[in-house]
């Protein structure tokens, strides 16, 4: 039962990653009201106009990074339901679960939320939530700059200081950028998402959050000119682009550095020769959440360890 659940979770997270290939949508929140924030009207990530009549007291979050934001904004006590993958902070996982890849609509309705936050879905989930007379705000950050906007938007939605959080996030990211400005090299980085089919290896391309992180960390993504946010490369193409650093988001299901080094033909890659196949915590870098500064710094330490000594 246990390994089965974990496999399903792995698949789900993987698919969620792939599902979020829609590209970034800019947020243009309504002008903020200086004194009393409610009632307010917000423009969400799907350019929908969402009215929030009063300070929402029962929140449901469908999306691990949204959950992390709500807790970071101090709205944790008002969160009554989260998706199955929300485990940051640990307290979030104690809330009622409302499903993962498939949302359990009955459960969401039963929690009587006055505001539901959700990532984008292309299978009609959002329409279904709306037709159950729920107030839905779509929040789906896809880039590092989206993260600060998300903090601002969510702050307005729950009546908290989102701009303050956005500023502190931006400061931390800027600190990493300032440090990286001193770098004299720009190592080629290959970031592996999934290589379980060795002829079609998933990596990150332009328009993806991790591509932004690589950029901020002072690396040159080998797939930076790919045609999609999550392109598939062949082993031939990876060998040809000769990455100097290979980064693995180390989950129990991903390949280990020794597996990567042992792949047929990969011994010619600079990163393998110089033993620079590095692991990074997947939750930290896969989720465009309030820990983006920490994520950028962790990635920068992998790409430019010489600047952090």
């Amino acid at each position: 039962m246990r390994p089965q659940t974990r496999l399903v979770a792995f698949l789900a997270v993987f698919l969620l990653t792939l599902a979020s290939c829609g590209g970034a949508v800019s947020v243009s929140p309504a002008p903020s009201v200086a004194t009393s924030p409610f009632p307010t009207t917000l423009t969400d990530f799907q350019n929908r106009s969402v009215s929030v009549p009063a300070r929402p007291e029962r929140l449901v979050s469908i999306g691990p990074s949204i959950t992390a934001f709500l807790f970071a904004l101090g709205a944790g006590p008002r969160v009554v339901g989260v998706d199955d993958f929300s485990d940051e902070p640990a307290e979030a996982a104690t809330r009622d679960h409302v499903g993962g890849i498939k949302v359990n609509f009955e459960k969401v309705v039963a929690l009587k939320p006055d505001l539901v936050f959700t990532v984008k879905f292309s299978d009609g989930t959002i329409e279904k939530l709306q037709s159950a007379s729920l107030n839905v705000l779509v929040v789906d950050p896809q880039s590092v700059s989206d993260v600060a906007k998300t903090a601002t938007l969510l702050g307005k939605a729950v009546g908290a200081d989102g701009e303050g959080l956005a500023r502190s996030i931006q400061q931390r990211v800027d600190a990493v950028k300032a440090k990286i400005a001193g770098a004299t090299t720009r190592p080629r980085v290959y970031h592996e998402i999934d290589a379980s089919d060795p002829s079609k290896i998933f990596t990150v391309g332009p328009g993806s959050y991790i591509n932004d992180l690589i950029d901020i960390a002072g690396g040159a993504n080998i797939a930076a000119r790919a045609s999609s946010a999550y392109p598939q490369l062949s082993a031939e193409e990876i060998l040809r682009s000769d990455p100097e650093i290979i980064v693995l988001a180390a989950s129990p299901y991903s390949a280990k550095p020794s597996d990567v080094a042992a792949r047929q033909g990969w011994s010619v890659i600079a990163a393998v020769k110089n033993n620079r196949i590095l692991a990074i915590e997947p939750n930290l870098i896969n989720r465009p959440g309030p820990r983006v500064g920490e994520a950028a710094e962790a990635y920068a330490k992998l790409v430019h360890p010489e600047l952090f000594r």
Partner: protein, 328 residues
């Protein structure tokens, strides 16, 4: 045409397709770069050609050849053009055993051997079923194949979901069920080559006795063929060939069916020439199919089983219609 001429022509076709297979890949290289890489040059191009493309092309050749030779054997034994390791469920048996072996942590030499054992069990089951009835033999064999294949699909799904270890190779195993020759290591290739060679030699030794089967088992017996021993040996050779093919490339359909059948029209049913000719033609066909798999939707790659299915399934249906007219 003389046997030597036929084999020389087919060998040339194989070499031409192999050269094409090595020249085309996801990283574009000029022919002169490719040949420089093939013979020397220790740079990345050399590694791409020698470590990635060459074993893949050789693997495709080995798989296609083994499946076609296995098909020729099964068709001779069952006296029926509708048999091959894929439709009879032999490949499915090999797949199940191989996936189970991987789930238990086995690697290169064990996996093809497990696949051989699985193929042997499956082919024996099909053989027993084939002998049950009189006129329904063909349908029994095909139904047994269908049942075995879907049963294996179900069991493999259970193994996949319950095994932590397989998650690492999840998409590879799923791709395997569709048939695919992706990255093949020299070690895997060497083990499979030895098994295929053993199967092929055994098949050639049995070729003469299989010819006698064409006249019916009783006639074969009066011609002095030891039926039980021959049957067992033929099934063993088929299992060796399809086990090795499955271990390298998973469930690749229809190569074993179409190639020997088409050759029978061209060069006759004498097994001493049909078996080596099937091997060469099957090898060339799968190398080309794999090339097609890489090219048709480039840069995306199609599983090679989708290519062989696309070409082979209509052929199979045409055969089925024709044979039903005869049988029913």
């Amino acid at each position: 045409m003389r046997t030597v001429t036929v084999l020389a022509l087919l060998a040339t076709a194989l070499i031409v397709s192999a050269v094409a297979g090595i020249l085309v890949g996801s990283v574009a290289m000029t022919p002169s770069e490719v040949f420089a890489a093939l013979f020397g040059s220790n740079d990345v191009s050399g590694t791409i050609i020698r470590e990635l493309r060459l074993p893949r092309v050789l693997g495709a050749a080995l798989v296609g050849g083994a499946l076609a030779a296995g098909g020729a054997l099964l068709q001779g034994l069952l006296r029926n053009p509708l048999a091959d390791p894929f439709v009879t469920g032999t490949s499915a048996g090999a797949t199940l055993a191989a996936v189970a072996a991987i789930a238990l942590g086995a690697t290169a030499p064990i996996v093809p051997l497990a696949a051989f054992a699985g193929a042997l069990v499956a082919v024996s089951i099909v053989w027993r079923l084939a002998r049950l009835g009189g006129s329904t033999t063909v349908l029994t064999v095909l139904l047994a194949g269908v049942v075995l294949t879907s049963f294996v699909g179900a069991v493999v799904t259970f193994i996949l979901v319950s095994s932590d270890r397989l998650a690492l190779r999840l998409r590879a195993v799923l791709g395997w069920l569709q048939g695919g020759v992706s990255v093949i290591s020299w070690e895997e290739l060497a083990v499979a080559a030895v098994i295929v060679a053993a199967g092929l030699i055994l098949a050639l030794i049995l070729a003469h006795r299989l010819d006698a089967y064409a006249f019916g088992e009783e006639t074969a017996a009066t011609l002095g063929v030891d039926l039980d021993r021959t049957t067992t040996a033929v099934l063993g050779a088929t299992a060796l060939l399809s086990g090795a093919a499955v271990a390298l490339a998973g469930l690749v359909g229809f190569v074993g069916l179409v190639i020997p059948h088409a050759l029978r029209f061209g060069i006759g049913a004498t097994h001493r020439r049909l078996i080596p000719a099937s091997f060469l033609a099957g090898a060339a066909a799968l190398v080309l199919a794999d090339l097609g798999a890489r090219v048709v939707l480039s840069p995306a790659e199609v599983p090679v089983g989708a290519i062989t299915g696309l070409v082979g399934a209509p052929f199979f249906l045409a055969l089925l219609v024709r044979s039903r007219r005869v049988i029913v």
